[in-house]
């Protein structure tokens, strides 16, 4: 038996959960800063991205050490190689949440500019990120499939955002700067949804050995 190796794989899962939680928190904080027009929280959120970058490097070196020392095959190799791919998408999620926060610090968006779909997009992407890590740790293919399908919800919310903003600009009922910044933010949330989808696809690979749509 390889108890030391099993411990190291359990530690990898632990790290992945920690990084997933950091991603969930940074999305939640960016959303809260937006909803409450809280520039201070936005600046704090931008700084939190560095923590996600550190976690990525920690997991990366843990995985490389496991590849070197244990020469893993089969499900062990899939677990480690998937983790290496997933953290790249998680790191991008951190970047995009930081980008959202940066836009908030520009100060163009005020409470009266806020629109419903943004909050829903933030919550939907948080759900996707956290569930994809759950699916990874519990090797739950069914959940991974659900997450991939859920990206359509995020895409639809983004389209709704665009419709709302076009209407507002057309009727001149809001500041055009605010509308454009909101559109950028919505796009970042939509990209976060795409990264969460990538993560779920790598979860499927770690379970089944093939990626969604490989056939």
């Amino acid at each position: 038996m390889r108890s030391k190796f099993d411990e190291q794989l359990a530690l990898l899962n632990q790290y992945m959960i920690e990084m997933g939680t950091l991603c969930e928190t940074i999305i939640a904080d960016a959303n809260q800063a937006l909803l409450e027009n809280d520039e201070g929280l936005a600046r704090k959120t931008m700084a939190a991205d560095a923590e996600i970058d550190r976690k990525e490097r920690e997991i990366e070196s843990h995985c490389l050490r496991l590849l070197l020392q244990q020469q893993p095959v089969a499900r062990d190799l899939r677990q480690i190689s998937s983790a290496l791919k997933m953290i790249t998408d998680m790191e991008r999620i951190g970047d995009q949440a930081a980008d959202i926060s940066e836009i908030i610090t520009f100060g163009s968006i005020h409470e009266e500019d806020m629109v419903r779909p943004i909050d829903e997009m933030a919550k939907a992407t948080m759900k996707m990120v956290i569930e994809s890590i759950d699916a990874y740790v519990n090797q739950d293919a069914e959940l991974a499939h659900k997450i991939i399908a859920y990206d359509d919800v995020v895409d639809e919310l983004f389209n709704e955002m665009k419709r709302v903003l076009v209407e507002r600009i057309a009727t001149q009922c809001c500041d055009a700067n605010a509308a454009l910044d909101l559109l950028m933010i919505a796009k970042y949330f939509e990209r976060i949804g795409d990264h969460a989808t990538n993560i779920a696809e790598w979860v499927l690979f770690s379970i089944t050995g093939s990626r969604e749509g490989d056939d």
């Binding site: 038996m1 390889r2 095959v73 499900r75 190799l77």
Partner: protein
């Protein structure tokens, strides 16, 4: 589809009361490297030896089933000497004859009736070149082969096996007694030779199977549990016992 070089149908091997190989059926494709893996005593070496009738030398061994070489049963009317010319073998420990490098290689061709000096010279050089040991030995062909290093001796044995122009090369843990550099040379050689020969290699080194083979068969307690392309077997094994063995969680 690759052409089968060896086709094994329901092979059973008994050593006295011990049932060493149980109902093994397998296709070994031509000009590919097939690796056998499995824990010690699982029957992989016994199976390898059944492929050129080395078990004939074991008094208590009893074999049933078929081993077809290009469709012809090797346990039928085939001449054993001719079989072993066509199906050569390299063993775990290098076992050069206590004679010169040249005579080691020329031994096989001479027993098959080749006497012409120029022809033998040519065979010796070609075999040593094929085994990637010509440069190291060309200036000392008349020296005793036992003076070579372990890795060189093993490549000499591969050259010796190839001097009779076999079609299949059976290798029983050919690098288990060698250092990493010699091991890498033999592995490169296996990959090189696979364009001309059908190679079957038994190995305890799983990474070696991954590096060198096209197909891998996993043996356990005298049975073949799973056989698949090496990529498939080491990334997505179908049987839990294979998964447990290759990931080191066996037993």
């Amino acid at each position: 589809m690759d052409k089968d070089k060896l086709t094994i149908n329901q092979l059973n091997l008994h050593y006295g009361d011990f049932h060493a190989l149980k109902d093994i059926s397998m296709h070994i494709p031509e000009k590919k490297v097939t690796a056998f893996i499995g824990p010690s005593g699982c029957g992989k070496s016994s199976f390898l030896k059944s492929l050129n009738r080395m078990n004939d030398l074991v008094e208590t061994a009893k074999i049933t089933g078929e081993v077809l070489l290009d469709g012809e049963d090797i346990y039928g009317k085939m001449d054993v000497n001719l079989l072993r010319k066509r199906v050569g073998m390299v063993f775990q420990k290098p076992n050069p004859f206590p004679m010169s490098i040249y005579d080691n290689i020329a031994y096989g061709p001479r027993t098959h009736g080749i006497r012409n000096k120029a022809k033998l010279d040519d065979i010796v050089e070609q075999a040593l070149r094929n085994a990637a040991i010509w440069e190291e030995t060309k200036d000392r062909l008349k020296r005793n082969a036992l003076g070579l290093s372990g890795g060189q001796q093993q490549r000499l044995c591969i050259a010796r096996a190839m001097a009779v122009e076999p079609e299949v090369l059976l290798m029983d843990e050919p690098t288990s007694s060698l250092d990493p550099i010699s091991t890498a040379k033999i592995e490169d050689l296996v990959l090189e030779l696979s364009s001309k020969y059908t190679i079957v290699i038994v190995t305890h080194n799983m990474q070696q199977a991954v590096r060198t083979s096209d197909l891998t068969a996993f043996f356990l307690l005298g049975e073949v549990i799973e056989m698949a392309t090496t990529d498939q077997l080491f990334s997505m094994p179908k049987d839990q016992r294979t998964e447990d063995y290759i990931t080191g969680r066996f037993g």
